[in-house]
């Protein structure tokens, strides 16, 4: 039996070295006879390589028989799990396009390495598919760049435009962004500068680390044609290496097993290589984190241990920051404040003239002291210097338009000068700042006393509704004498 097997391999090797269509080669008849007579079902399970397995199927089964297609499919699927050799590729070239479309092309849909290798093989043997097929291929799985380039070889050069158009339309109707992207990328590859020959997929490199597979120097564009004339020495060399490879790898056909041991560190390296930039960014972020940790430690630390006073301890700084208002406080500011507060003390006794002097003193140090301006206006109003009051109050409002009661005092000043319109507008402005019922009551009384009873009534009603707890009343204008009596 072993002898027969040996005979088969010898005859098969010579057949493969011969040229022309398989069936027309001199060794074909002898080999076929051998297989039919002595090897009816031998080698089905332990064939030396996928190349011989295919040859065996071709020798045994008639063309277009379902059995032939089934067996071919099984062999090709198995072959796609490992790195293909040139001999096998040459063998595929001998297959009819019909055999290939039903056996090799379905493998392209596989998500694992089979898909990549199937595309590579199809490109390598110059298989072409119909233009409308590409959109299905592209959406069936995720595609690596290498696979896409190989897939581009499956497009007939004359049909590139057509494929592109179809993909463009498909992209327009596609909802998935990933698919649209892949369509576009494939179109770019089609019109870009493609490499001269199909690229061996990444997975194959990783899986067969160390094995070099010499690609064919030229590519036959047409499957139906005879295999191209190739340099026999090169062919020999490659076939030997391929044999050596297949004999070494063949016993462990499980792809995963192959990947694990020698491929792991390589794949880690690959991950690091491919994610170099991302890792760099991570490194930078980490550094920032660590630096920031140090910084925050420094910021937050309030070392209770140190008993050393600050460098400027006990010295008079140029300014302080008010901890409540964040204002810049200088000695000048404090000096003005002191005068202003002294003025306030006089006001506790209604001594307006003395107070005014002090407020003016404060203003001579700090002309933008809003409250001193307000108080100066207040004093001037009481000593009946209405014009002076207005100037001071308007100045205060210019600095701080939201200052409360300044508008009220302006209204009083205007009222005292019988400028009813001015008074009204100041009253209104004051009420815009705050809906103060006391101000509203005063305004309503002012309106009442100037003959605008209706407005006065509506204002008082409005504020009465706003402040139901208070009693707001319209009163008759108090007599001068009454006011004086209150003051005594």
């Amino acid at each position: 039996m072993q002898k027969t097997e040996q005979k088969f391999y010898e005859l098969a090797d010579s057949l493969l070295r011969e040229s022309g269509l398989l069936a027309n080669r001199p060794s074909w008849i002898n080999l076929r006879q051998l297989v039919h007579e002595f090897l009816p079902d031998l080698l089905d399970t332990d064939c030396r390589s996928h190349t011989y397995a295919i040859l065996l199927v071709l020798l045994r089964n008639p063309e277009k028989s379902p059995e032939r297609a089934k067996k071919l499919a099984a062999i090709i699927e198995s072959a796609c799990k490992s790195s293909p050799d040139e001999l096998f590729i040459d063998m595929l070239r001998q297959l009819a396009p019909d055999d290939l479309t039903s056996t090799l092309l379905p493998q392209i849909y596989c998500t694992d390495s089979r898909g990549s290798i199937a595309v590579y093989l199809a490109a390598k043997i110059g298989l072409h598919v119909e233009p409308d097929a590409f959109q299905y291929f592209l959406t069936a799985r995720t595609w690596q760049q290498t696979d896409l380039i190989n897939l581009a070889f499956l497009v007939r050069p004359s049909e590139q435009l057509k494929v592109s158009t179809i993909l463009e339309q498909a992209a327009a109707n596609e909802s998935s962004a990933i698919n649209r992207e892949i369509f576009t990328e494939f179109r770019h590859i089609l019109f870009g500068e493609p490499p001269q020959q199909p690229l061996l997929p990444d997975i194959a490199i990783a899986a067969s680390s160390g094995t070099v597979i010499t690609p064919a120097p030229t590519i036959n564009e047409d499957v139906s044609e005879d295999p191209p004339e190739v340099n026999t020495t090169a062919r020999k060399g490659s076939s030997h290496r391929a044999q050596a490879f297949s004999s070494r790898v063949a016993p462990t056909t499980d792809a995963k097993g192959k990947k694990d041991s020698p491929g792991f560190s390589a794949s880690i390296l690959k991950i690091i290589e491919t994610n170099q930039s991302a890792l760099l960014v991570l490194f930078v972020i980490t550094t920032i984190f660590l630096v920031a940790t140090g910084l925050s430690k420094w910021f937050v630390s309030d070392s209770a241990e140190s008993v050393t006073p600050p460098a400027n301890a006990g010295k008079l700084p140029s300014h302080w920051t008010d901890s409540a208002t964040r204002e810049k406080i200088t000695e000048r500011y404090l000096a003005a404040d002191k005068d202003y507060r002294m003025g306030e003390l006089y006001l506790t006794r209604d001594r307006f003239s003395e107070a005014l002097i002090l407020f003016e003193d404060a203003l001579s140090i700090r002309p933008d002291h809003t409250l001193a301006l307000y108080r100066a206006g207040y004093c001037r109003l009481h000593i009946k210097d209405y014009a002076g009051a207005r100037t001071a109050l308007e100045k205060a409002l210019k600095i701080d338009p939201t200052l409360r009661y300044a508008n009220l005092l302006l209204a009083r000043a205007a009222a005292a000068q019988l400028d009813n319109k001015g008074a009204e507008s100041h009253f209104n402005r004051e009420l815009e700042l705050a809906k103060d019922p006391v101000v509203a009551e005063e305004f309503a009384n002012f309106l009442h006393n100037t003959g605008k009873e209706v407005e006065a009534e509506s204002l008082i009603n409005k504020y009465q509704a706003l402040y139901p707890d208070r009693i707001l009343i319209l009163t008759r204008k108090p007599d001068k004498s009454e006011k004086e009596e209150q003051r005594q």
């Binding site: 392209i108 097929a133 299905y136 995720t142 660590l290 937050v300």
Partner: protein, 170 residues
């Protein structure tokens, strides 16, 4: 014919390698963030402690001050015979209504408590809830002859509270 081979489920797959890379990065970031957090927790802890301490001091001070403000006389502590100041961990005073009120520090529980002793018939009653908890140190200091000023010094976890109350009523 190609439509036949279309396998939708493969379209958005994630490979083992991707998961490994993603989790490695996540673990890396997690580690860094964790480390950072660990360092920050120390400061955070301090900040929280200070924050709590301040709140305790404010609440306790305000509560005691409000009652002391309208009180009529401080009964204890009072300045020493040689007119030097005197401090104690409790304060006893006659309230606005004439009753005897005591705020005292319970060292074993680190609490400030309040007790009301009726000036007249009736039994003393202690408040069920303490005025403040986690107080490390408390001292009431009398410094004036009129018994109308009482200083409060409190320490909660390294944060110090200082108060004085002037009794407005005679």
């Amino acid at each position: 014919m190609y439509r036949h081979y279309k396998r939708k489920s493969d379209r958005f797959g994630v490979t083992l390698v991707e998961i490994i890379v993603a989790s490695a990065i996540l673990a890396f970031i997690g580690g860094i963030v964790g480390h950072w957090f660990f360092l920050q927790r120390e400061y955070q802890g301090r900040i929280f402690a200070i924050s709590d301490a301040q709140q305790t001091i404010r609440q306790a001070s305000w509560r005691m001050m409000q009652e002391l403000r309208t009180a009529r006389s401080v009964l204890f502590p009072r300045i020493n015979a040689d007119k030097s100041i005197r401090s104690d961990s409790k304060v006893v005073f006659k309230s606005f209504a004439g009753d005897v009120i005591c705020y005292y520090y319970l060292a074993s529980e680190k609490e400030i408590r309040r007790c009301k002793i009726p000036n007249g018939p009736g039994v003393p009653t202690a408040d069920s809830e303490p005025v403040a908890r986690n107080v490390d140190q408390l001292a009431f200091t009398a410094s004036d002859e009129g018994n109308r000023i009482i200083d409060i010094f409190m320490e909660v976890k390294g944060t110090f509270g200082l108060e004085s109350v002037y009794l407005i009523n005679e």
